[in-house]
Amino acid sequence: MQREAAIREPLILGEKSYHDITEDICKPIESKAPRAWYVMITITGLISLWGIGCILYLLGTGIGVWGLNKTVGWAWDITNFVWWVGIGHAGTLISAVLLLFRQKWRMAVNRSAEAMTIFAVMMAALFPGIHMGRIWLAYWVLPLPNQFGSLWVNFNSPLLWDVFAISTYFTVSLVFWYIGLIPDFATIRDRMTKPKAKKVYSTLSFGWTGDAKAWNRFEIVSLVLAGLATPLVFSVHSIVSMDFATSVIPGWHTTIFPPYFVSGAVFSGFAMVLTLLLVMRKVMHLESYITIKHVEYMNIVIIVTGSIVGVAYLTELFVSWYSGVEYESYAFINRATGKYWWSYWAMMTCNVISPQLFWFKKIRTSLTATFILSIVVNIGMWFERFVIIVTSLHRDYIPSSWSMFHPTFVDIGIFVGTIGIFFTLFLLFARFFPVLALNELKTILKSSGEYYKKQYAIAGGGHAEVEMETPVEEAPKAVEETPVEDTTTKAVAAEATDAEEQKEAPVEEAPTVEETPEASTEEKAEEAAPETPAAEESSEEPQDAEDAGSTEGEEPSDEEDNEDKKED
């Protein structure tokens, strides 16, 4: 059994057993959805319908309904495309790059981050599609034999590279995500009691059995896919940046674009992951799995990538002056002081200054601050793409063709619509799919779970049997000690004791249900170390824990309320 240094903070809080992890993740799928879910999906559903309406109107009428003109031929459409692709980068980064680096904290966030990636890339792919005007001819981007003397697509063009990059990225991410989902679907299949749902989940689980050889293959497939997906993540946004960098437009043809775009993508992707997860962990009660430490880790990634983006902005600015090319210099002076100065400074404030606030530990461990800043970052990243695309184009070579870009309701409708579709898909995911990689989480429970880490510390690295007696004295301490660091663990501890009480009740009420489960619970009580202290603790300490939860629990709940409001 692999053990972790005691100094590392636990990644799974509370006294969880393997079964508790299954319960915590599967309960929301098996029980009825909370009212908030219906409210949210109605709102996002209406927004998506509006967006779909705008798209249909655009397809029926032509892209003249956008605000594009002969000077600004790319505007919100490509801005949105690059923005969504960028957001789609965090998922694969978390699941692939962090897997290669053996970062255990990724296991609590990878599933939803990958789902986010897939939905974001779907939204991204929509924009070049509808930008073609005649979307039914979209298959022309493929090298297919045709009646024009077999005129092939141009493999020298970054736009075609994009076709290959985005489609590979989308399908590989989808496969990576689904291969991880199969064992978790099997868990739901084996628990599900409703016949219809059981059938659906057994189809989705592909008949997974979980034998030793299957897990052996599973591990190597995850590793190789991670190895393949890692350069893929970097290639995709590099290629997207080459759409601009290989052109001759001042402000676009800069060699730093690939790394600059990739770090920007990771930056915005992590921000979007945080926006989604902070709401999800609250609504679905995942505080023991997505801890403050997870949020802090992600905020650190945001500082790093945000700082790279900041350096890239300044480098660009410096090089435009140092190059001595007056067109290049003008492009950048115009960005900062021209008619679109507000978008430039919005970008600078949101992307360069705001992430620096995360240097303060208080801010990067505060959920409210993180939530607000994660949204600010994504606003900033949208403006970054807008600045690059529109302000570079709107001052054309001939001053007589200088113009501005004015979005129409269709531009706005489609952009807002994609946000609606994205959130609708994510809400459906959160309702019907296991939102955490629950079976992978079980592999880190003994090395990184709070309870097990404490036991090892007490036993001094001894065997599991040593732990039998100690927890009774130590467990109450756990409730008192941890909350000093953050208030939410207290609430979690209180919930945990409640859950334990509930778990005991059914055994007493219905002793005649079946032979095996009862026998197993009895034996569990005898043998399994985690159960004994929990039962003892719930009889001794419930008042303390609950008191603590009710007094200290006020603050976090206020914070979360604010978050909910902001999200609306």
């Binding site: 590979t168 008949g207 393949l228 290639s235 079980k442």
Partner: protein
């Protein structure tokens, strides 16, 4: 020839590991283990060989590389050479820098999908296939060891049962095959 399957259930991966070590040490052949998550270090004990899927992925990958280069050579150099911005593209060698991105993407595409498909086929996991785990709890928190009497002729069923009980199994089940 009658064949019996013994299913021994464990409720902890640590117990399972020490049980496997003990049983295999006695000379019993363990057919398989069903677990909710990968139990690291178990495979060498029960004699599961390391998978060769990684090699498959490599082969699919180089197939992708060759196909991409062959395709682009045919489209851009052989069948319909296009003069784009005066850049030379009359040989593959001269054009290769701008072919790198698509070659890379296609390599990844073939390697990833080829490997994923092989993985699904080898595991016999495809939509609609039935689950073959002996107990539904093996996808939650229980671990089941499968032992066949036909592979362990030197032990009687009772001996095997006793051995499993001693090593910490919480439930035993026998099935005729």
């Amino acid at each position: 020839m009658s064949d019996k399957v013994l299913y021994a259930m464990f409720d902890d991966d640590g117990t399972l590991m020490s049980a496997a070590k003990k049983i295999v040490g006695k000379g019993v052949k363990v057919k398989d283990v069903f677990s909710p998550f990968p139990v690291h270090g178990l495979d060498p004990i029960i004699g599961v060989k390391h998978t060769r899927l990684g090699i498959c992925a490599f082969l699919y990958g180089i197939t992708g590389t060759s196909l991409a280069l062959l395709g682009m050579w045919y489209f851009m150099v052989h069948d319909w050479p296009m003069n784009i911005g005066g850049k030379p593209n009359f040989t593959l060698y001269q054009n290769i820098p701008s072919f790198i991105p698509v070659t890379f993407e296609f390599t990844v595409f073939c390697a990833a999908h080829g490997m994923a498909l092989t993985y699904l086929l080898r595991n016999k996991t495809l939509p609609g296939l039935p689950a073959r785990n002996p107990d539904p709890r093996t996808t939650d928190d229980k671990f089941v060891m499968e032992i066949r009497t036909s592979e362990n002729r030197s032990f009687s069923a009772d001996e095997l049962n006793a051995l499993l009980n001693d090593s910490g199994a919480i439930e035993l089940e026998e099935k005729e095959v």
